[in-house]
């Protein structure tokens, strides 16, 4: 019972405290309408919003948005520059490839020319060697012919001498030397 009385006392205290908190001359039972329209509050809102807008435009939005725009421009500029550089690089790559192709073609041409030159030179050397060999062979043949002719002449002469000597020996002393020589010359001519 005493406990119940205590609880009642506490709850009354709480209600009174709440009432006092709400109160300040207001009727605690008066209806509070959150939908109540107040023109004064609307005007306060306008005034404070536009003051805030103006002040923030000055201290914040203008410098911040300006900085962001500037940064965007710089980034865009960098992107554009990178694009230009990329295009330049691509052009340089193309020029490099073209030059490499040209150099390759030139080197092939030089090699081809050198090969052809070497082949022609080899051919010329071979022909020259062949000509020289032919000349040498011809000379050798001529020498052989001359030597053979000389040998034949020598042999013929020797044979004539031997024949004359032989014939002299056979005929003995019938013929003199002038007759023998004439006969021998005749024989040689006949030979």
């Amino acid at each position: 019972m005493a406990d119940s009385a205590h609880k009642t006392e506490v709850s009354h205290d709480t209600v009174e405290t709440t009432q006092a908190h709400i109160g300040h001359g207001q009727d605690a039972h008066a209806e509070i309408n959150p939908m109540e329209i107040s023109g004064q509050m609307v005007v306060w809102t306008w005034v404070l919003f536009f003051i805030t807008l103006g002040a923030l435009y000055k201290v914040a939005w203008k410098p911040i948005l300006g900085t962001l725009d500037k940064r965007e421009e710089e980034i865009q500029e960098s992107i554009d520059n990178a694009e230009v550089l990329r295009n330049e690089m691509a052009q340089l790559e193309a020029v490099k490839a073209e030059q490499l192709a040209e150099a390759d073609a030139k080197s092939k041409k030089i090699l081809e020319t050198a090969r052809n030159g070497a082949q022609e030179q080899a051919k010329a050397i071979e022909e020259k060697a062949r000509d020289e060999a032919a000349i040498l062979t011809e000379n050798a043949h001529r020498d052989i012919d001359v030597s053979r002719a000389l040998a034949e002449d020598g042999l013929r002469l020797k044979s004539a001498v031997w024949a004359r000597e032989l014939a002299g020996k056979l005929i003995d002393e019938n013929l003199d030397d002038d007759k023998n020589r004439a006969l021998t010359d005749k024989l040689i001519e006949e030979l």
Binding site: T18, L48, T52, W61
Partner: protein, 272 residues
């Protein structure tokens, strides 16, 4: 017999007492979530002059916080990447400008109108968050404040669009091409009323969301007053709802700003 009569009386008494406490809790909750001529805190209790109310004081503090905050937190150093608060706030500034203002108004008008939407977003966000801090109250839980903000959107929807497109084009926007005139007679007034309804929806949405959240938090705390320690778990729920309110504060600031940009964008570029 006497004993049972006593028990019944005791129960009746307790029921009346709980009802009384519930009534006062209701008064207490409504007192805390509505505007008044006083500013109560655990530290002080101010009686404000008749020309200013508690929510007006909160709006002044909101403006003060924003101007001081942005004036001191935003520091750009030439040639250096932004850091700390500057970097954190810049994310929001960029988001509002690119994803809200430019997205709904186009490149040219979007950039020009970005300061308005940035102010809308940060003004509402700060006012919403202040309501979650001790000592302060939620000015955006006041229908007159949200009405004031929505009327600024309305002003730009009407006069801004007239300035951008000219008065004739402004009225032509209510009459789509190819629509027969008997239908236009009905359609044009509906479209014009639609302007007001859109702004009324902006007003109610922000006001109701902020008010409802605070009523829920205070009601849960009020359960402690009504039922004593039995309602202690309600305190944890109030804390959870309060954390949810932080998210709601951001969400509602975003929603108000996006819808304002959308409505103004529709009037600036009616062909789209």
């Amino acid at each position: 017999m006497t004993n049972s009569v006593h028990i019944v009386e005791e129960m009746q008494h307790q029921v009346h007492e709980t009802a009384d406490r519930a009534h006062y809790v209701n008064q207490w909750v409504m007192h805390h979530v509505t505007d008044s001529g006083e500013w109560h805190t655990p530290l002080w209790s101010l009686h404000l002059p008749p020309w200013i109310s508690n929510n007006a004081v909160m709006l002044i503090i909101t403006s003060f916080f924003l101007i001081i905050g942005f004036g001191s937190f935003f520091r750009y150093q030439k040639g250096k990447a932004p850091r700390g608060w500057t970097n954190a706030l810049e994310v929001f500034v960029l988001f509002v400008r690119n994803e809200i203002s430019i997205a709904y108004l186009g490149e040219k008008d979007g950039r020009k109108m970005a300061p308005l939407f940035l102010t809308f977003f940060f003004f509402i966000l700060t006012a919403n968050l202040m309501g979650l801090c001790p000592l302060f109250s939620t000015s955006t839980g006041n229908i007159n404040v949200t009405m004031g903000l929505a009327s600024i959107t309305f002003f730009f929807m009407v006069f801004g669009a007239m300035y951008v497109n000219g008065p004739i084009k402004f009225f032509k926007a209510f009459a789509p091409e190819g629509v027969p005139w008997p239908i236009l007679v009905i359609l044009m007034p509906i479209e014009m009323i639609g302007l007001v309804i859109k702004c009324a929806a902006l007003t109610i949405r922000l006001f109701a969301n902020m008010l409802a959240g605070h009523i829920v938090v205070f009601s849960l705390v009020g359960l402690l007053v009504t039922f004593g320690l039995w309602a202690l778990p309600a305190l944890a729920m109030a804390l959870a709802i309060n954390l949810l309110e932080v998210f709601i504060a951001f969400l509602q600031a975003y929603v108000f700003t996006v819808l304002s940009a959308m409505f103004i964008g529709e009037m600036y570029h009616p062909a789209h």
